[in-house]
Subunit: 428 residues, 2 copies
Amino acid sequence: MTTPLRLGIAGLGTVGVGVVRIVEAHRAMLEARIGRPVEIAAVSARTRDRDRGIDISGYAWEDDPVALARRDDVDLFVELMGGADGPAKAATEAALSAGKPVVTANKAMLAIHGQALAELAEANGAALRFEAAVAGGIPCVKALLEGMAGNAVARVMGVMNGTCNYILTRMEAEGLAYAEVFEEARALGYLEADPTLDVGGIDAGHKLAILSAIAFGSRVDFGGVELQGIERISIDDIRRAGDMGYRIKLLGVACATPEGIEQSMRPTLVPAASPLGQLEGATNMVVIEGDAVGQIVLRGAGAGEGPTASAVMGDVCDIARGTVPPPFGQPAAGLASAPRAPAATPCAHYLRMALRDEPGALARVATVLGEAGISIDRMRQYDHPGPEAPVLIVTHPCTPAALAEALRGMAGTGVVAGDPVALQILGD
Amino acid sequence: MTTPLRLGIAGLGTVGVGVVRIVEAHRAMLEARIGRPVEIAAVSARTRDRDRGIDISGYAWEDDPVALARRDDVDLFVELMGGADGPAKAATEAALSAGKPVVTANKAMLAIHGQALAELAEANGAALRFEAAVAGGIPCVKALLEGMAGNAVARVMGVMNGTCNYILTRMEAEGLAYAEVFEEARALGYLEADPTLDVGGIDAGHKLAILSAIAFGSRVDFGGVELQGIERISIDDIRRAGDMGYRIKLLGVACATPEGIEQSMRPTLVPAASPLGQLEGATNMVVIEGDAVGQIVLRGAGAGEGPTASAVMGDVCDIARGTVPPPFGQPAAGLASAPRAPAATPCAHYLRMALRDEPGALARVATVLGEAGISIDRMRQYDHPGPEAPVLIVTHPCTPAALAEALRGMAGTGVVAGDPVALQILGD
């Protein structure tokens, strides 16, 4: 008889329940694949008696996830509580300090404390794996960290927040306003307790920072991600983008430049016919560009019980099968903090603004753009009932710095009401 | 100082040269990622002095790849010669017998001798990895074998022969006949020495058999792949498929049914707007469906120096970093031969035939279809200068058995000239 691998699972929400279901449903398959049985020794959650659709009475219970992580009968700690700090971090640290491997789906914790946790893991000879933290069921961490280990990575991109993509595609399909779909998503339980994590791009930014660290061999740097949420995207923006052959996606881009690492997560116009443009609903996509392999595109469910639990179990199997690489692909102690490079790659931009209906207003905006060195690809003023005219401008490629200068200039004209919506346009 | 990992590379064609280039260009990166330097100790190829664009004078030379595999200064044997038998197999066996890990891009060898080689590898405690054997640079073996280890896999599909996809997309784009593009591809060096390996679907069938074994935990069974090549696809087929919103792809499908494992590689009409339908040129795509994760789609370059060498190096890094799973994901000795299930899933079919221009001919064909229980979705007879009329029929979903019965019936009518072209249609 081989020794079983005994899991301690902290967190019995959607993902935790999914992991329990896989372990229970696939005992023989898992044992065949990893050479030893996988068992659940103990579990922990905020409340013990909630009906979760699974029977946890056969597993030991711990109120305290730290105590769970320290149990002698737990070989591998599965952290599925969430939250960058608090019990998730304390329990993860307890497990790693005890030399126990940890599998987690916690992007916030890794984006903020990834470096310290990786160092702790390595100092204790314990594995720390987090495939489920990025893009749900898509094995993108593995692809980047292992499959593409022979590549210098130039760029990582992706649509990595299913909720935002759900909101944007539903607005488009039903012609609904942002606020309506936002409320609908909240009612359906699609949004985090603090919805800004989703719609503000923070959750997706966490994921991008994790991929970026692996891709470029630098310390995870969530603070270096330029963030722009989807809150100001209107149904008109979606329609006008569509008229031009684009769809709006919350797109993360991380690239290595001579100046440092550029990381951004913001609503972006992508060609409607491109793989990114075709993403519907909660589907995620990660695009990785390596110097040898070229472009690899990975698509799959970005959230949900099964997909996320699948990613957790992939990590569990890796750990059970043998050693695994350091959490970020190379020893954490040797990882440098890369300089933060501000976004500098020129690209076309979509600008939508409300223009006071007075003589010369449009000319003043055009002048400001010209003074910033930005040339206009197209400009259109729409019919309007009120005193302010909706104006749409698509620029030729310009640097983010030039765009920022133009936006400052517009504010000074006195003819633009409020802040324009400015979105980058990704070429084909 | 850590001990270097010393490679012996047998085969210095496109992929071998690519591996040498990566090792030389990325010394520091590779050492950081795997914790020890990677060096090339010795190489072997058919001719020593050919200009390959790289300098191999710094590496020991062996005329005999078996001798290379046995060298004391070779820690890991990289087999890039190709060919199911002969020197590739002999050298792989020599390395594994000596307990040395092997990385290979050799799909033919694995599809035919994969079980025996996996058993030999495991008996000697040596790793055997072959990411580069399937779909070039796409880390699909890793995704299936490791990332999706927690899933019971229901189906694996893919476009896995870049040359066939190049031929089909070029016929479509330029309106050229199959024979023209075939000769062009041959002149460009895109075709194997025996082109049937490509256009007959054999090469792609090898790849499917490898993925299928991992997916379903059964012995690799290339003989169980139903093969149909692209040789009979005409530009008219491509155009007519296009008119109906489809594109023709050489598509592999492997699925687990209660009867056994169904494997097929054949030209298939796929929706033009689907991810499979949008593949251009030599790009490959692998679609994996797991019970937990749902559908994962992986896209990338299916061949070429950089992508294939990237896959080889991913395996090299895995081996350098530590233990790796058994070649097919679970101990080979325990793998069963799964029963071969004939294709049984009903699907719509595209039929193109040449009908003798005589009264009642079309009615006789329609009658034969009806007698086989196949109903017709659409039927069209085209203008024709000669005595035979081109007829196109699209059926409603029917089983392959019913279709075979209908095709036999048509042969008996005496009104169908030659064999009809029959292609399956994959739904949305």
